[in-house]
Amino acid sequence: MRVVIADDSMLFREGLAGLLEARGLTVVAQVGDADQLIQAVGTLRPDLVLVDIRMPPTHTNEGLIAAAQLRSRHPYAGVIVLSHHVETAHAAQLLADPPRGVGYLLKDRVTDLDEFVDAIRRVGAGGSVIDPDIVARLLNRMRADDPLAALTPRERQVLGLMAEGRSNRAIGGLLFLTAKTVETHVARIFTKLGLPPAPSDHRRVLAVITYLRTRDGSTAQ
């Protein structure tokens, strides 16, 4: 898999590139800002882009804007946005684009290499990956008359993993359940929450995240 890394810290880029190469991925370019990134993706056509949310010149959300541009111009390339702090609004913004090959992770996730490389492969294959911190925040958000109260602890677990972008098979693997049992849980969760069944994994992420953000009539978009 061919990867481009965009981050304004050379130290971080070099370190990450070394680790990814060691895991059998090919880092075809390392760039320091959004303009260089878009140029590199245009010429090198990578399978995946890793981009820091804060880059020059304003160090605010350049990475997020670049991600949106890349996903409309080069939809074949998956994009993972890295940030030192994750915000649900950003996740929703990324998922709102055609939900294909997108990830949003805390920057420290790169140190958990197995998980991180797995996320890269999933996004490269067109899946969606959402940081567990965000999912936890959404699940734990206190609501008056919360419909989530109707879920069993196991169903809550399954819902959280779905929101992170895991497939049924992966959920089964993590929770030591058979694929069939997971399917039953998923169907029951969708019924309890009144969600229509989602046809594919990444649509399911969008549906679940949107649901978690807006449940019980809050005005969040």
């Binding site: 810290s9 680790l19 060691a22 915000e87 609004a89 008056a144 005005t219």
Partner: protein
Amino acid sequence: MGRAEPEVAVPVASRPAAIDHRPGRARGALVVWLGSLLAAVLLATVALRALTWPVGPLLFDTQVEEATSPIAFLAWSAVGLVVFVFSRRPGNRIGLILLIAGLAGQVWVLTAYYAALGLVAGRTWLPGTGQAAWAYTWLPTVSFGLAFTFLFLLFPDGRLPSPRWRPFAWFAGAAVTFLLLTWATAPGPLSGDFDMVDNPAGVEIVGRLDSGAGWVLLLLAILGSVGAPFVRLRRSSGVPRQQLKWFTYAGVVVAVTWVAVTAGSAAGPPFTTIATLTYPIAVCAVPLAVSVAIFKHSLYDIDMVISRTIVVGALAVLVTGGYVAVVAVVGTAIGRAGETGLGLSVLATALVAVAFQPVRTRVQRLANRLVYGERATPYEVLTVLARRMGDAYAAEDLLPHLATTLAEGTGAARVEVWLVADRQLHRATCWPPDPERLAAPLGDGGMPAVPGASEVAAVRHQGALVGALAVTLLPGQALRRVERRLLDDLAAQVGVALDNLRLIEELKASRLRIVAAQDEERRRIERDIHDGVQQRLVSLSLALRMAAAGQGSTPETAVLDAAAAEARAALVELRRLAHGIHPAIVSEGGLVAALESLAERSPVPAEVMGVPLERLPASVEVSIYYLVAEALANAAKHAQATAVAIKVERSDGRVRVAVADDGIGGAAPGGGSGLTGLADRVAALDGVFEVDSPPGRGTRLTAEIPCALS
């Protein structure tokens, strides 16, 4: 006039009547057609008059009047046509009235000559002379009926002065219609010059109605209508007032001329000719004034015209009277006025000339007072200001008071108060009010250079320049000595007050700068942590993982993994710290995302409602964020609340935040809590902060902060 135009409700006050420059072929064609019609009527009139010349004066007592009247009528209809077609909506009705009144007058003259040609000059074969004679009897009613009622009622905006005038307008319309009907349908011989013809439209029943009653009704309608412009004059200001002055001026000119003509006609032949010549010309003044009022009111200063007219008129009367008096008195004394005529005339002229200059000055002052209004004496002005300074010392109130006072005292067209700040002059207030912010450089030698001002007085406090009072006068006016002294006295009095205002403004500005600097500092620290320590810790963890990955499972690997986990824990802690210092989400995602993010982390269920989607100034956004964060923390820590509602709305350049919980209440802004800091922060942004926390009934924090869109 079958001219279809979409009826659009336009607030008249906000749209002064002016020339409509929209191109339109229909408009052009209308002008050509109607213009040709007016010209044709005039040509036909001239031709008919030539044919009826042997008959002698027909319509008026003299040939001169007969020659000038059609021109006066043409002036009405032509101006009416132009106003009707070219002015924007409000002028249309005025144009229509002028056009109909003028055209009716023109046709009236035409019918008179045509009827005379057939009935008096013996061209009996002409068709329709009876009808022409009939039209001749009632057409003037249309003309002056409209001119003396609805023109007065509707000028300048085509609407009544107020809805209360509506019944009167109906009455005026009914009076004109009634008179018109009784005239047009009176049976038997036509009244006036053509009594050889019976009324072709005579109706017996209507004829029995007394046409004297019609005159009385019309007279009442006219008296009431003439009041309308004066009522408007008292209420109006700005452009409509100038327009009304033009119109009223013309009306007064016509009235005065009419009186002069009536009086002059009795005086004998030379006066009669002058009088009869003057009157139709004076009548032209009305359409001329209307067109100036509608199209060019900003070009000429009517106040000056009126003032000069009064001066010239009064002087003419005085000079003539003085001359006659001198000649009469001295002539009688000498007893032989006839023989010493030349010397006497020279003497009289010299006396009048000597008296002329002081009289002119007096009259001019009187005229100015009539036109520009009464002025307060300087002593009154100072007393009033002193009282106002005692009453209202708020910065917002004092300066407008000062400007108004100065305007009353000097009769200036414009008064400005300027304050010194940042080594520049800033306009703090203006009379009449003008919200535009102006700045001007400080002049050389300590005298402030205020652009456009006629007179400037520097305001000093303890020797230092703190501001300036600037007065702009009407063209042709100058400050009298006493008025200039008033300006200087005021400038000397308000030194302390202006210096205080300047200090308050500086204090406000510096407080705002401190808040902005604090925000900036926090942002910088957060970024330093982000770009420095956080980034380095991630790289450190990466390096530790790499080192560990190279080995198998050895004791060294375990140490490396533990070190990596420690670095990771440090990152999590650092993240929390950085987020507390400055919420990056505010500048990255805006207030919506930031408040949602706060609500997500809140241990007490919280809902965000109605957040404005447009970006606000950074300091306002950050302050709202801190306020909501503090309120949520209080709700969780002290209030034992079970729900919090966060509401943000933006209107009229202000943003309003309210955070309400259902907890135990009793929160006090004083007790060293974060609330005090919030109150200071909001106050620095010129906002209002309130804590409403009655025991047992929840806590409600509200803030209202002025903000322009960023």
